[in-house]
């Protein structure tokens, strides 16, 4: 599809960009939400990219073998949780260095999924395709100009993702456990004195965060792309880590950042075919450049959880 420059002023063009942007924002936003949960408990997971790939691949395999995208998502969630438990055991229980362990997890995830993909599905340039979930259109609402198509005409799994996200955000806002979570991430000694096990809370938060990242990976690969390739997440795990900083560890800010990234990502796909003098590679780099600039503007005012990356030692130990 070649887009003429006159298309840039048409409502239909921006409606499709917005729709694709919302779709692309969902998975990266969900991964960022997962990262936010474990970071607020004091655990930095730089293995997010690896979790998304491993869980995404597992989800793809499940969906490909059974023909059910829903099962693929479930497998992604569970595998994300299992990998998260392993990571939590290393950094929370054994107190291994979070940065080193996280980076190793990402490098492992990239290579390991490449290996599995090659062994099981040949790893060729025309990868097998898993069935994509159907699209649910919500009547009336989807006809709202500009926004309607983006929000109310999604793949069925995307609604689940939006639902999970909304429930989680509402729960985090009102819950007693959010206070415990923040206490463990800000003042672990005080949380410990109040009778909460710092190790247990961090473990559960890390598993939950990774499970969400796993679901996000499955959502991207099963729900949107329908195929797997080496390193297919293309840095989205790290974008998610960046979005947590941009969103200052709050769901609202993270959602805003995810929509910004998603919209740029969607624009990028379309601008690649745009007939302009600007080289298309510029648009490929654009989402990463804008994310970097956005984080640069947000970082000085952002204050990370005080105990982020710091292992917890009880005084009696």
């Amino acid at each position: 599809m070649i887009i003429a420059q006159t298309d840039l002023v048409s409502v239909a063009f921006w409606a499709t960009v917005l729709a694709a942007g919302v779709r692309l924002a969902i998975s990266v936003g969900m991964a960022a939400l997962g990262e936010m949960i474990n970071e607020r408990a004091g655990v930095l997971n730089l293995g997010l990219e690896g979790v998304m790939l491993i869980a995404g691949f597992a989800g793809f395999a499940a969906s490909f073998e059974t023909g059910s995208p829903w099962l693929g998502l479930l497998v992604g969630l569970i595998v994300g949780g299992i990998v998260g438990a392993l990571f939590a055991w290393l950094v929370v229980v054994l107190r291994a260095d979070q940065v080193v362990t996280g980076l190793a997890l990402t490098l492992f995830g990239i290579a390991f999924t490449a290996f599995l993909n090659r062994e099981i599905y040949g790893g060729g340039s025309t990868p097998p395709r898993a069935p994509k979930p159907g699209v649910w259109e919500i009547p009336v609402l989807k006809d709202i100009p500009l926004l309607g198509e983006g929000i109310f005409s999604q793949s069925s799994v995307a609604y689940l993702a939006i639902l999970v996200t909304l429930l989680l955000v509402v729960y985090l806002r009102r819950s007693y456990w959010t206070i415990v979570l923040d206490a463990v991430g800000e003042e672990p000694r005080a949380a410990d004195a109040a009778g909460h096990s710092v190790v247990a809370v961090r473990f559960v938060a890390t598993v939950a965060g990774s499970a969400l990242a796993g679901l996000a990976g499955a959502l991207l690969i099963v729900g949107q792309l329908g195929f797997f390739n080496t390193g297919i997440t293309a840095g989205r795990g790290f974008i998610a880590v960046a979005l947590v900083i941009f969103g200052r560890w709050r769901p609202g800010g993270i959602a805003l950042g995810a929509l910004l990234f998603g919209a740029l990502d969607a624009l990028q796909f379309r601008f690649q075919t745009l007939d302009t003098s600007v080289p298309f590679e510029f648009f490929i780099a654009l989402p990463f450049a804008v994310t970097l600039i956005a984080v640069a503007f947000g970082s000085k005012r952002a204050r990370e959880p005080s105990a982020l990356t710091l292992p917890f030692f009880r005084e009696t130990e």
Binding site: V100, F238, E281, I284
Partner: protein, 383 residues
């Protein structure tokens, strides 16, 4: 001689001196870190063996091929040295950063920009003799990599962007830039492929009689220099102090951001140099093979080398041999290189887990000895 009334005297015989754990083989092995490293490598190879069996091969045979092809064949040695060169050069730069707690994980992008800068500069000067072109290309590449690293450094120091994010996202900007550069301004008009012209006279010659390019010497020269700088210079002292307690360094510095800035730019310069050596010594052109993943593998090299220059050198040779052997195994047995690439981070994970467990053992032993010593000195006061 048990105490029937339970007066609280220590149960151990107060006449015997506390056990001397500090001298045991286990203790020495733990202290040097060698034990953890060896056990970790063996454990990772065991995990690899499981995967190899799953892939339908005999692990002993595969490991035999990997070791034989990388270390016991002349071409294997050559490839191992040639691939260890970029890994080691980048790894040295990263090690200085990591030692100081400055996480540069964007070396891949810095390498790419180094290669692009080098070809952009030497392209129009193709007629000059190699003796001039090689240093010009090397310096251009180092500047290109350093500038890319400095952009990350500027974001990190000036805007407090997390160094991991600031360096990594620049990789995703460097790669499209490379693709554009070889598609439009630097494209070789003689081919249809998106690739640059060859480096021409800047191609690195082979060393005396061997078929190993002289770029390998760069690593061998750099390692002792880096070791001296890290261990004996003021800069190295600041790096180590920054890693141990950055606030102590900042208390004595008029410009606290200077050291992280220098470290990121320096890491970029070395990654750029590695990019030039790969370009002039192996690939000859800038193109799709330029971003070959050395920048990411070098992270593992630095970590497994314990951020010490000599360690980085050994790790670079070791990981390079693994990859060269794995490529041979892929050719002869059809076993994907990705398998070996996944074993490498597993070694890292085992090492960090092993070190954490080691800390626990050493601490527990220290406490036990302290308790026994206290009981020995004050038998009546023990609880």
């Amino acid at each position: 001689m048990t105490d029937p009334v339970g007066s609280g005297a220590p149960s151990t015989d107060p006449q015997s001196s506390p056990p001397d754990f500090a001298g045991t083989l286990l203790h020495r092995g733990l202290q040097s870190g060698a034990l953890v490293l060896i056990v970790s490598i063996l454990a990772a190879l065991l995990v690899g063996a499981v995967l190899i069996v799953w892939a339908g091969e005999n692990p002993l045979n595969v490991y035999r091929v990997i070791i034989k092809e990388s270390l016991f064949e002349a071409t294997g040695w050559r490839d191992t040295l040639i691939q260890a060169t970029p890994l080691g050069i980048i790894g040295l730069g990263l090690a200085f950063g990591f030692r100081a707690g400055v996480w540069n994980i964007g070396a891949e992008g810095q390498l790419v920009m180094g290669a692009v800068a080098a070809i952009a500069v030497i392209g129009p000067m193709g007629d000059l003799p190699g003796i001039l072109l090689v240093p010009i290309g090397l310096i251009a590449a180092m500047i290109g990599g350093a500038v890319w690293g400095a952009i990350s450094a500027w974001l990190h120091v000036k805007f407090a962007v997390n160094a991991v994010i600031a360096t990594l996202l620049m990789v995703f900007i460097a790669e499209p830039l490379l693709n554009w550069a070889v598609r439009v301004p630097l494209k070789d008009p003689a081919t249809f492929l998106p690739q640059s012209r060859t480096v021409g006279n800047a191609a690195l010659p082979d060393m005396f009689g061997s078929n190993i390019h002289i770029g390998v010497l760069f690593l061998f020269i750099l390692v002792p220099i880096a070791a001296w700088v890290m261990n004996y210079s003021r800069f190295g002292y600041l790096v180590r102090a920054h890693g141990a307690n950055r606030h102590a360094v900042y208390a004595n510095e008029s410009r606290p951001g200077r050291l992280p800035f220098i470290l990121l730019a320096m890491g970029g310069a070395l990654a750029g140099a590695a990019g030039f050596i790969q370009l002039a010594g192996v690939q000859v052109r800038v193109g799709s093979g330029t971003a070959a993943g050395f920048g990411f593998t070098a992270i593992i090299v630095a970590i497994l080398g314990r951020n010490r220059p000599v360690g980085v050198f050994i790790a670079a040779i070791g990981l390079s041999a693994m990859l060269v052997g794995a490529e041979a195994a892929q050719r002869s047995l059809g076993l994907p290189v990705a398998l070996t690439q996944s074993i490498q981070p597993i070694i890292v994970i085992f090492v960090v887990a092993g070190e954490a467990i080691e800390q626990r053992i050493l601490k527990r032993e220290a406490e036990r000895i302290a308790a026994l010593t206290a009981a020995h000195l004050h038998p009546e006061g023990a609880a």
